[in-house]
Symmetry: D2
Subunit: 396 residues, 4 copies
């Protein structure tokens, strides 16, 4: 069985979002404020619509934490729907005899509505949208905050930045320490590191908004402090990049994932695609002048900076509606239009951090085992002392 | 438990590669020739080195098939190493008292050697390379051929083509039926559909070879005949694109995966990124003028053509050797050079087909259940009759 | 991935018990009253202490059900601790600066206290007992009620009875239809079918109570309406009795599990241990004069009555306290004594029904697949028409 | 993902049995002789038929071991069918145009034949029996020998004895060290410790043989050297006894499993069912005068002797044939009779040891993680120094 497992539940306008994470070691200091901090970051970004402006999400720890420390038992988190009173008739678990409000009868292109409705035999496709909505990622961010805290105790830092929105790009290499990246990115309206690039992205969003259109983009995740040797080459499904790709592809609207050079490696000669090894000052390990691999070779972390990117398609709800069909009658119809976000890439980057934290925490627990944080930390230190990560070194 | 599971074993120069696949329904006609056909396709491509020219791999069915039909019990496949007599002293399971030949003491950049050696405490990094080698994919192709046969019985066809090698590109949209793609691609020296593009790619490979360099590229996988509704949005790890990304990222040297518009979606406005719905002639379903989603929306197949691409980094063994370190002494050294392939993208595409077949067969069995092919086929037909796939339609 | 998964969370005196079950088909009618009915049955039985007399548990459906029908999305259930105000300082997630009440410093023999405390490095073993407590089964019963409802729609009925408490036995074979068993058993103070046996068991409990002692026993689970062919022989971990044994052994205090003749088969000759096959009137299937197998042969359901028994050890908290050690000082001490149950076998039987329902629902979904109840039912009927279960027939 | 996984394949009279075990740490010394030793033990026992007398099984290590040490990569084992030339036409994977020999058309009561044949739509039920046969356990014993070797390196010893055959019983408590048990038991014709009891069991077998009948029995597994804290109470499916019960119940013909007092606990008062804690001389831990728990409390190993028993039903192939039906015609018929074993309990005990080794090795790797034996051993020693197992102590 996996060392770290989690399930999420909850509809977008349902009573609550709920998550259970099982396998977190005991003794980890954890506060609800730490969860809230990540939930607030999930709302960042220029170009978000009304819903993100609403009152902050409040997360409740229902189990697994006592007097500020994890118990080793499953941690249940709940985020109540603060607008439940306005939705209870629409979404209640109990039978409802009145006329149902807010039915979704015209499937929205680019969403799960139509396929989901046929698969699960729902006439009212609200039954689909409520679960397929990116609202679900709220609870995954809360669960990811637990994983992130565990990693932080081990010295692992996770940051992200947006590198593209529409045609606005910021692909300058990151020179900042990972710890500082989020401070800079979170202060940018588009979670971008370069100011000019950020301004260009904002202009893109404004133009798209004016056109009734939406925009996607690319974000980059960066992780420092990883040890050498998470994941493995011995069996295909132990390769860490596979788990990472799966987790990120599972995020709504993500259509591509890459590690290190990624798709650029396809157009780069071999002589410029790999990381040469140099003698390190510390005779115990090696260093390298480059990190083209993005911190993963042969399915394993090298201990260099982990670099992953994901491509997000534009939001599917447009102010200039797309064509669809009213299923009950078979007539052409326009997809439902509502005030919505123009671009959600900055938030997706934050969510991506959370998903990556969950994958990495599981990989750490698989390699190191351990039931308590104390036990885990001792093994972590032993390992890093015996086997140092590959360091990036200046060219000699 | 998964409906379809498999494990592979075997070192590159070991006695044999072995695979077991468990969960294949009974009653599927299967011959060793069908496995051999895929194994031969795995050797395709201009720019392959000596090893691929060797005698064809011979696969043996050790269990799970009787008198030409699967039994429902696990299928074990074995591909013996035809050159074992020259390797037995190097690789034998038994203790060996002589001096060990062919030790790997200088880790090769871009390979699993160094990290794997530290992780598993191997001084002789041959212990790593033998398993981390892409040779392992041979048995995955054989297992994938079983999955492919199951899908073929249901009318699902899988093809692939190379769209880029180095700077040579062939991104013309596919207009051929999937069934015909492989016939064209397999006849091309680089498994490319366009003749001019193919010639350009060959020139790239020749130039790289002259320069002692290597090349990566991009391949595209195409699947027709899928039903609407494989995978699901209800929980993140049921999303089909996640499983696909994981399987492809697990292939040696793959650094990026994308579905449908993929990374291009990041630079495309929302109005051109989604698939509008049209009234279909068949009033039971819908059609769409486009397939920008690549056949997956909300984690589920739409029934349109499935389109997935993967980016492969250049091979890491170069004739102009990369810098490395002799670990025992800590001195700078050159990575081992041997006659090797210049480019393996055409073969990777074939392997990608196999990995995709395994993922799709599992998704089919999860949705349809069933123990025998007969039972599976009956359910498949019922479903497709009740819920037709989304069809691509000409713009009205 | 499993078709049906669930996680539970929650401490015995924590804020709430929480469960998420994922994989339940859409379209299943489900009310909170159906969950409450099973939660009430969990409190049955003569010899229960104060806590069971408390106000009934109230379960809340937080997601996955809308207007009385399951959505196909994960179902989250929550049972709030109605006595939370008296426990919040002891169990709160937030840091607590006062002196902690109700520490457990002397481990109780027969409980998880000591081993759990060492494993997770808890000085206050309340951190263990709160999760190791059988209180957790409350939420498993609620989750099991969902599985039970699904099975009921397919015509599968689950019942149970107590066959032994201490030296009081009721091993008369069941002649009642499964549907009627629970009506009789639930009306008995010890959930026993025979009146005399029930009276004997009550006397046992009264005597044990007087002696400050506790009692275990054996319960039997019975399931009717199963199809032929759940589970499989093709791989060891697909055998249904394995999954059943695992689920029941996971219940607190269970020390043994058996199917059909069980341990009696060890002392019975082969000629009296198996079920002969007879020609059935329905030429499509077979019948048998006996059901010694307990409804499972070769890892698969035969379609006859499923019969499983489990042995429960006596409760470990005795009024005449057992010897233990105060860990902080290393001095001998008596285990904590509190008013507690004398015997919980009747309740364990009800919990056992729930655990079995979860296993069987998963086995059904694995064989039949399907996303909606409608789809599942159609396949179920097709199967039972084509392949009838083995029926018990009168000896000719 | 599980730290240790395995799959088996192969039909009873097929070309070969094959197994792959994935997750074994690197650096473990392993020879084929160690596997053969366990395979020979699997043939032990008075009352075995002709097949067990045949030439010894020869196991081949196809991968994962090099020069006498495990590589950390998957280990593939193969046991070729030495009688294949006599079975190839019956069992070959290739199509067969002649008349098929040795069809099974009358299902044998007590076997998987009938149910399996219906489930997988096999007319010739040989397709079932070949996989459902206990012959499959041969490869599980070989895989288990790998796990056993890993445990042995950590100081964990596994033994077994038969405690009942028919009405012959040997329930005298074990006073021998586990290391010595198998030496005594393997020398007994029925793998029993007491000489008189052994003689009684032999007489039972002789009588059954004369009567054309068969016998089942009970065996006991004993494990020493386990640490405190394998398994967990935090989630039901992490309880070690659940995994153990599942593994043993998956063994052909096993109908019951119990731990420690087992079913006897149901008739024992609480005051005599639990293990009191005493001050140990080593102030770091505790001791106990008893081991009624069988070495597991709250789902976790206590570090005391692990004691598990399983009940086996009599073999289903009797010389006095049971009644059955010829399926093709629907006429009554006698089940096929062939020279067969009268009793296989001694062998089942050896197989049980192997299955338990696999479960325990997985539990060890889950708690301790680690990729190499060296890493695992260091953590194991750290743990046992910090947290000693509960020791059995003389009553004060």
């Amino acid at each position: 069985m996996k060392k770290l497992r989690f399930l999420t539940a909850g509809e977008s306008h349902g009573k609550a979002l709920v998550g259970i994470i099982e396998g977190v070691p005991s003794g980890l200091a954890l506060t609800v404020e730490e969860l809230h901090a990540e939930l607030r970051r999930r709302k960042l970004g220029f170009g978000r619509g009304a819903r993100q402006k609403m009152e902050d999400d409040r997360c409740e720890i229902l189990s697994g934490v006592r007097h500020g420390r994890t118990l080793g038992s499953p941690i249940a988190l709940m985020i109540a729907n603060q607008d439940w009173k306005n939705w209870s008739d629409v979404m209640q678990a109990e039978s409802y005899s009145g006329e149902v409000r807010r039915k979704l009868e015209v499937p929205r292109p680019g969403h799960a509505d139509y396929v989901g409705g046929r698969k699960y035999r729902h006439e009212d496709m609200r039954n689909v949208l409520e679960r397929a909505s990116a609202r679900e990622t709220t609870i995954r961010v809360a669960l990811g905050a637990v994983a992130r805290k565990l990693l932080a105790e081990l010295g692992v830092g996770i940051g992200s930045r947006v590198t593209r929105i529409g045609s606005g790009e910021d692909t300058a290499p990151v020179t900042t320490a990972v710890e500082a990246i989020n401070a800079i990115a979170d202060a940018s309206p588009v979670r971008c590191l370069g100011e000019d690039a950020g301004a260009a992205m904002v202009r893109e969003i404004e133009a798209a908004k004016k056109a009734g259109d939406t925009l996607g983009g690319v974000f980059e995740l960066l992780v420092s402090g990883l040890p050498l040797g998470l994941g493995s080459y011995v069996h295909w499904d132990r390769r860490l990049e596979g788990e990472i790709a799966r987790a990120l592809m599972s995020l709504n609207a993500i259509k591509g994932v890459e590690v290190g050079l990624g798709f650029h490696a396809a157009a780069t000669p071999g002589s410029l695609s790999h990381d040469e090894f140099l003698v390190s000052e510390d005779r115990n390990g090696l260093s390298s002048p480059t990190n083209r691999s993005g911190g993963i070779d042969g399915g394993m972390t090298t201990g260099q900076l982990l670099v992953v990117r994901a491509a997000m398609k534009p939001l599917a709800t447009l102010m200039s509606p797309l064509r669809s069909v009213k299923l009950a009658t078979g007539e052409a119809a326009e997809a439902h239009v509502e005030r919505s976000d123009v671009c959600a890439v900055p938030a997706a980057a934050v969510i991506g951090e959370s998903l990556l934290a969950l994958v990495l925490a599981e990989a750490v627990l698989e390699k190191f085992g351990g039931d308590s944080l104390e036990e885990l930390c001792a093994r972590w230190e032993d390992w890093n002392r015996a086997v140092p990560p590959i360091r990036k070194s200046p060219l000699p």
